[in-house]
Symmetry: C2
Subunit: 275 residues, 2 copies
């Protein structure tokens, strides 16, 4: 004889979930969980979100993010996956997790993913935006969201330089030492600077944004690209400097690694998959 209760309510199946996550990175020690030996774990996005999912779903989960954003870096569209067996309807999952998350991180969408979905391996492209607050005025209430650079920047020169980054190159010259990639070849699909800032407290033209999308980024690559474009925009580098950095693959020829606060992971695109 079978147990009536068991047969009436089959156990939930283990499924793979895909989350799109936004956060203000200024109060986080980056995305990746950090649990130093003999010390309190650091406050990280993955740590906070994973612990919250565990509380909501009442089970341990392993949250794997597509991009290990650094301390202070923001995201509008980080992507992460985890496996869980739960009866919580998918259309209520984002709200259920958000209700327990702190105010500086948010689940934008929660989806059921194919069982073989891989948040890291299946990426086709990512887009970052670097915000430069480009006026002598102070950024005040958004100072943790922008890089304040008060010398004038020539956006046309920056775009001349940015266009030279587009294509498949070895970007070693735009990477910090210590990254562990064997190959540095990747493709930048678009790199463009534009004047922004049209809502209070930002007057039109007060911000310059560097948007860059591509299929892969080396360590600190977007921040070094932004730092190099700033050197071009202020007139210290010629736009052709980009070609020299690419050819030499020498980090020393590029501009500085500008601060994390200006950087935001905008979106991550994935190859189409059958469900």
């Amino acid at each position: 004889m079978t147990d009536v209760n068991d047969s009436a309510v089959p156990p939930p199946t283990l499924r793979r979930y895909k989350l799109t996550i936004a956060y203000d990175g200024s109060q986080f020690h980056g995305w990746q969980k950090q649990e130093p030996p003999n010390a309190e774990p650091l406050r990280t996005v993955a740590g906070v979100v994973e612990a919250t999912i565990a509380r909501v779903l009442k089970q341990r989960v392993n949250l794997v993010g597509a991009s290990r954003t650094d301390a202070g870096v923001h995201a509008k569209g980080q992507v992460a996956q985890f496996d869980a067996a739960t009866r919580l309807p998918i259309e209520r999952m984002a709200e259920a997790i958000n209700s327990r998350l702190p105010a500086d991180v948010e689940i934008v969408t929660a989806e059921v993913a194919p069982p073989d979905f891989d948040a890291i391996q299946h990426v086709t492209s990512k887009c970052y935006r670097y915000r430069i607050f480009n006026t002598p005025r102070r950024p005040l209430g958004i100072r943790h969201m922008v890089y304040h650079f008060w010398h004038g920047l020539d956006v046309e020169r920056m775009n001349d330089a940015a266009a030279r980054l587009v294509g498949t190159h070895d970007f070693e010259g735009f990477a910090s030492a210590g990254h562990n990639r064997l190959t540095n070849g990747s493709t930048i699909n678009a790199c463009q600077d534009e004047e922004r800032g049209d809502g209070p407290p930002v007057a039109r033209g007060d911000e310059k944004h560097s948007g860059v999308s591509g299929d892969g980024f080396l360590y600190n690559m977007v921040r070094i690209i932004a730092g190099t474009l700033i050197e071009v925009g202020r007139g210290r580098f010629e736009p052709t400097r980009i070609d020299e950095i690419l050819a030499s693959r020498d980090r020393a020829h590029a501009g500085p690694t500008v601060e994390a606060a200006g950087l935001c992971l905008e979106w991550i695109a994935y190859r189409q998959q059958a469900m």
Copy 2:
């Protein structure tokens, strides 16, 4: 015989200075200096700016502000005066003070004012803006600059209500108890709601702003007006409720005092003066 050095460099004359000041109020206990007995002084805008001016000009000054903004309230155009005798050229004063100010407050302009200029008494009108982040999405990086209200708001209804505030009225019904004004009559010149939010991370229409200007405001008046307009916008109050609150002068008929974070002192206008 006169001292050559003394006659060559006459002592600077005492002059009155007018500052326009912007700040992110989230890390301040309001504008007004607070020095509780037997305790550390609280961090206030007036306290920080006054101490900084004293360091820069190497003399004690008394900074008098036009608006005693509450803890958490922001300003783009606070006005304050002080008297000092200094050789620092006026065109370098803002920069000199700013170089010693923390990142959340800024001198926008410094001017020499007429000796009888009175930052409080000579005000002709002030303008406040109340920012409502009106989407289920979280404000994340600007959460200290807006009031997050996720139910839909009907801006047309709000503007119907707002128009009823314009004119000379007794605004007692829109004031918190405890203000010490003998007369509550003042004139609202304009009160308008608009959809805003056109720069990242805010999508167009994600924000509703209540702008209100007038010749005087009672304690908490702008926050109570905003709270009342929100009740109208969400459908709990009819726009005619404004007339009832004005007629009854009863605070209990108005909406809640919404939080300080959404409020910004935009500008203060003064009567024309001969220099």
